[in-house]
Symmetry: C3
Amino acid sequence: MTKSHRFLLGAALAAAASGCATAPAPKFVGMPGPTARPFSAAVVANGIIYLSGQIGIDTATGKPMEGGIGPQTKAALEIIKELLGQQGASMSDVVHCTVMLADIQEWGAMNTVYMTYFPTNPPTRSAFGTSGLALGARVEIECQAVAPAKK
Amino acid sequence: MTKSHRFLLGAALAAAASGCATAPAPKFVGMPGPTARPFSAAVVANGIIYLSGQIGIDTATGKPMEGGIGPQTKAALEIIKELLGQQGASMSDVVHCTVMLADIQEWGAMNTVYMTYFPTNPPTRSAFGTSGLALGARVEIECQAVAPAKK
Amino acid sequence: MTKSHRFLLGAALAAAASGCATAPAPKFVGMPGPTARPFSAAVVANGIIYLSGQIGIDTATGKPMEGGIGPQTKAALEIIKELLGQQGASMSDVVHCTVMLADIQEWGAMNTVYMTYFPTNPPTRSAFGTSGLALGARVEIECQAVAPAKK
């Protein structure tokens, strides 16, 4: 074996090792709009897209959608879909969600809308009633998805 | 160095790179039973087993176990143990749990049962009181575990 | 190609494959102090530092800090900072937090302190009101961070 062979094999081994051991730095995606928020919209780290909990904001008013749990569930999931799309992912990449409800009695109405977004292979999930959500929302939904493989 | 050497080294480097960059597709494990549920029982993705929040269901009645927080904590953790076992993992692989209580006053009674499932190296955890859980349960427990290495 | 060449290339490929497929065992970090707790302070697994939900304990009394939401938010985040530092990480490595409040009305006061710990690239986050937290705390904060690459 020549010196150059040893060098190249060494390089292959080092690349193999570092490719696994050295995680790339997280990618932070800010919230849209002029106001500084205390959270990012998305962070991609370690193969996972972490999203902030989303409430079903009406972008025209900046407040939760009128009409209660149904429209707010739909609006929250549309924001999530949009944020995932920006990272090259879709709803079918979601592996886990947490559903925070203003009232657990609205669990069924939330589910009716929620299930249309995950027709097959729904993510794992927890859901619970809270004593209150930001902006008086009826529901806040947080999801994690697998990040698409780097090309 | 011959052409074949260069080819093989190139293949080694490509395998090393793709082995890290290309995450396998998530594996979804459905809930048992005939009814479609709005969540999977488990999703294995990116080296982690994500489980849905579990309540301590009595399989004979389909309702939370009678006897309150103690029996329901035990039943929920038994379901979690079973689901992990199906993926080749055990309670000692659990890295994080979230414990959602109907009443934070039952934190101590939950802990008494919970700790017997994690006698050493317990997972990290958060626990809080909710304003209500599905099916009127006293407790819902959600866990993540490391997936066993592929053989 | 000689036998030794084939052996070394095989070894390079095996190292590349196993380096990705074989996740190291999780590392559990216990809570400080003499009392056994039902949770670890931190678990490092699969490239992520999982932390338990932290309440802003006054180490002198073992109870939540006096002064309410502001001092308790600060104390909880100081504990989180310390735990991350023990693993070679810092607040800028945090990718996701969950903020559990005794009262959602204290969301703004919590944020005022919280944002000083994440001046740029804040983690993703969910926040909600609970019906109660351990030890009567006003806030519990749980974070996940990316683990530093192994040297």
